[in-house]
């Protein structure tokens, strides 16, 4: 990390000249830059922000000025070693090109084709992006089911010949899980070890019992005809539930009855 306390060490080179302090129109404290960058949906969004901050119409933007500001941002971000998405750099290159074109005298007699005017192209893209951004906001402002309103429903009377619900074959279910695991394995580096199913079932059973009663004794979870193996499974399930913070063990004094309790009362 480059500290910007050292006066002489430039933060970055912007257009060939060293940048020793943050651009003054950059009101954001440097440590917030990463957060700010996250808030932008891409280079077009960042450009729009720069333009709107000055209350400018997109059509009337001074490309040179906006380019300067954009470059300052990028330079600072790069200097602070933020991981910049390639799109931001592509935009920087495009802006640099627009600026250099503006500086070059046009050869006499050559009419520049509007289609290829990169400034017009940039403005077109900004306008188009702004429309999408605004429509997204308008869409989000519409009343939406489950967020702004609920479907009204009443219990149906008993009906003969209710629609048969879809049936699922066990193999479909297993296959779905296999596929899911394969996909998850590709996308995540870490793998989690899971309890065997017998333990997980016992965990669910215990929670289910705790729904009706606020506490259970250990013996409530042991089934006599399961033998030793059953006791071990129940015991592992309780330990796992406690570890995951799903229930608590309470014992008044050593040697007395141990109770399993829900962590809070209002389920």
């Amino acid at each position: 990390m480059i500290t910007h306390v050292q006066g002489e060490l430039p933060l970055a080179l912007v257009e060939g000249s060293p940048l020793t302090q943050l651009p003054e129109d950059l009101y954001i404290p440097p440590d917030a830059l990463e957060v700010i960058l996250d808030a932008f949906e891409g280079p077009l969004d960042l450009l729009l922000y720069l333009i709107r901050r000055q209350n400018l119409d997109i059509i009337q933007i001074n490309v040179a000025e906006i380019t300067r500001q954009y470059m300052s941002y990028i330079a600072v971000l790069k200097a602070m070693r933020f991981e910049l998405a390639a799109e931001y750099l592509v935009m920087a290159a495009m802006l640099a090109e627009i600026k250099s074109r503006a500086l070059l005298p046009r050869p006499a007699g050559t009419e520049e084709d509007e289609e290829e005017d990169p400034r017009a192209e940039l403005i077109r893209r900004l306008l188009e992006y702004e429309t999408v951004k605004t429509s997204a906001e308008a869409l989000d402002a519409l009343s939406r089911v489950d967020r702004d309103f609920q479907i009204a429903e009443a219990q149906k009377p008993d009906i003969d010949g209710r629609t048969a619900a879809p049936t699922v074959d066990l193999s479909e279910l297993v296959l779905a899980f296999g596929e899911l695991l394969a996909r998850a394995r590709l996308s995540s580096a870490h793998q989690i070890e899971w309890e065997p199913l017998s333990t997980r079932q016992r965990m669910s059973d215990a929670l289910m019992k705790l729904k009706d009663r606020s506490e259970l004794t250990l013996s409530d979870l042991f089934v006599a005809d399961e033998g030793k193996a059953g006791v071990v499974v129940s015991f592992l399930a309780i330990l796992e539930l406690v570890r995951e913070g799903l229930c608590a063990l309470i014992q008044a004094r050593p040697g007395s009855q141990i109770y399993i309790r829900r962590v809070t009362g209002d389920v």
């Binding site: 949906e41 891409g42 280079p43 077009l44 969004d45 119409d57 997109i58 059509i59 009337q60 998405a85 799109e87 935009m91 509007e114 017009a120 403005i123 077109r124 893209r125 306008l127 188009e128 992006y129 702004e130 429309t131 999408v132 951004k133 605004t134 429509s135 997204a136 906001e137 308008a138 869409l139 989000d140 402002a141 519409l142 009343s143 939406r144 089911v145 489950d146 967020r147 702004d148 309103f149 609920q150 479907i151 009204a152 429903e153 009443a154 149906k156």
Partner: protein
């Protein structure tokens, strides 16, 4: 039918169903009996909607048909019943949805071209699983990219009867004056 009238049958059927009910389904309520005409149904529905003026639920028409829904004003109370917050969507997700809603059918590449950033697969899958978008075909260009469009459920969930009811985004932004547009030779397609 005796003492049960058409309005009451529709009222019960609408409350019994979570999905919006179409005129076609309403006719099916009558089984082998002579079904009422669409005109009669709409008249009864209008009358029913009146009955519920000022109540906690109202009769709404959306793309899929008619349904009763709880009025928006009660949302803050209902929110107290659950710890889980209703799904909020990221700007990237909403912008992708907006592109599909307003420009459909559209490819991922076209969305990326306008937004200037890559659209990640998770966003597309989230919207598909929510039932708001669906694959409607492939564009006949190299690579045959998938074409996406919004669904009837999207319209239902946003309380719209058709895509034409989408807020007009062009009206929402400050439009530059005409002559400036001419200078720019600006064309929206």
């Amino acid at each position: 039918m005796s003492d049960i009238d058409l309005k009451q049958i529709l009222e019960g059927a609408l409350f019994a169903s979570r999905e919006p009910m179409s005129i076609y389904q309403m006719k099916k309520l009558f089984g082998d009996q002579k079904a009422p005409t669409e005109g009669m149904l709409r008249e009864a529905l209008a009358c029913l909607a009146d009955d519920y003026q000022g109540r906690a639920v109202s009769l709404i028409e959306v793309a899929g048909g008619f349904r009763f829904q709880v009025i928006d004003a009660l949302a803050p109370y209902l929110a107290n019943l659950t710890d889980e917050k209703p799904g909020r969507y990221s700007r990237a997700t909403l912008e992708t949805l907006a592109m599909i809603a307003y420009r459909q059918p559209v490819t991922r590449g076209e969305i990326e071209a306008v937004r200037g950033v890559a659209v990640n697969t998770q966003i597309v899958r989230t919207l598909e699983e929510r039932g708001w978008i669906t694959l409607v075909g492939h564009k006949e260009v190299p690579g045959r990219p998938a074409l996406f469009a919004t669904t009837t459920q999207f319209l239902n969930d946003f309380g719209l009867k058709s895509l034409e009811e989408l807020p007009n985004a062009e009206d929402l932004i400050v439009t530059p004056s005409e002559d400036l547009l001419d200078q720019m030779d600006y064309q929206s397609e």
